[in-house]
């Protein structure tokens, strides 16, 4: 699979209607997923000081680092969400988001074990009311969706990652 021309292998029994249906369904998932991260990032970018305090509540990072992360992470999240939607820097965005959600889940579990009083902060202070299990469930769903999208892009339907996925040129 070292050719320089785009590779788009069709399975011999591919039904063009079925393929375009699953293509659009998949596109929809990407839009929603990207949208969720853009929304989450925007809420945090709107109130960086609040986010800095939320990060500080986890008592994992010193304030000096946390406050700088509070200004940086939301934008990274927004850009990666955009990457999913626009298919630019797609796999990079996917990898970063997967890493972010995983790290965040581990931090949340760690804080819970330590008995810390944390209000998530992932959706800004709007999510103050969601409790621990719901938050974890939400993140699990996000993580699972991200991984499904990744697996799809890496294999399913024979699309090669050597080029932008869904590259329709022949």
């Amino acid at each position: 699979m070292n050719s320089s021309s785009p590779v788009l292998i069709e399975s011999p029994n591919a039904d063009s209607t079925a393929r375009s249906k699953s293509y659009f369904a998949f596109r929809l998932i990407e839009f929603i997923l990207g949208g969720v991260f853009i929304y989450a990032g925007a809420i945090k970018a709107w109130d960086p000081i609040g986010f800095a305090n939320d990060i500080d509540n986890y008592k994992i990072l010193p304030w000096v680092i946390g406050v700088r992360l509070a200004f940086y992470l939301p934008w990274l999240e927004i850009l990666c969400g955009l990457a999913l939607i626009t298919h630019r820097f797609y796999v990079g965005g996917l990898a970063i988001l997967t890493a972010l959600v995983s790290i965040f889940m581990v931090a949340t579990i760690a804080a819970k074990i330590r008995g810390l009083d944390i209000t998530c902060g992932c959706f800004g202070h709007a999510s103050k009311n969601l409790n621990f299990s719901w938050h974890l469930a939400l993140d699990l769903v996000l993580l699972a969706t991200l991984l499904v999208v990744y697996v799809r892009a890496a294999s399913g339907n024979g699309l090669s990652l050597k080029k932008n996925p869904y590259d329709q040129k022949t």
Partner: protein, 239 residues
Amino acid sequence: MNIRAPGFFIAIILSIFALASARAELKWEQTALELRPAVGDKEAVGHFKYENIGKTPVRFKSVHSSCGCTAAQTQKDEVAPGEKGEITATFKIGDRTGTQVKTVTVQAEDPANVTTVLTLKAVLPEMLSINPTFVYWTAGEEAKPKTIRVKAGKDFPAKNLSVTSSNPEFLTKVESASEGEWKINVQPKETTRAMAGALTIKPDFPKESPKLFYANVSVTGAVAPAPVRVAPTATPGGH
């Protein structure tokens, strides 16, 4: 990245999640409650209902709140399997305004140590907003009147305002600025010595027992003030 990696990853996360939730035996109907007390309410009470859905009794090790203003009580110390109960959080409003968020931390044991944080959000009604709540003159400053703006919030349909001063050396005059807005002009008779007073602002709402508000005035300076009663005039049924 190996295609099998995601599956492995998911398995790890799922098992952590399963582990975390398996130990919880108390199911809470809601762990966050939003209350909207009415004008004149002294307390806001939240009932956090729970049920023991596990097979062993759950014992409450400690129930304590984030501040002295919220009393949290549990009716029973031990909850048998299948039993239901509630933790009652009583938030004493006091002189607070705005939206107040208080938490109650419940530590349960048997079989496992589980900490649950219950959140009580009290959205207090917008009553009168007084800006500023304190005006002062420095000794020797010209005794010109200063203005305090009062605005009625949407939950507070007051039509009239009356103001009394605890210290007769401070003169007050109320003028209506617009619907639900007033200007209180205060002026000390003189600023030669230090003195202080409290203004009691009485709106005509609620009709049966109008809620009282306060502002403070003073002439500051190094001269020892003549003994003056500075506390606001208390009325029965007030705070």
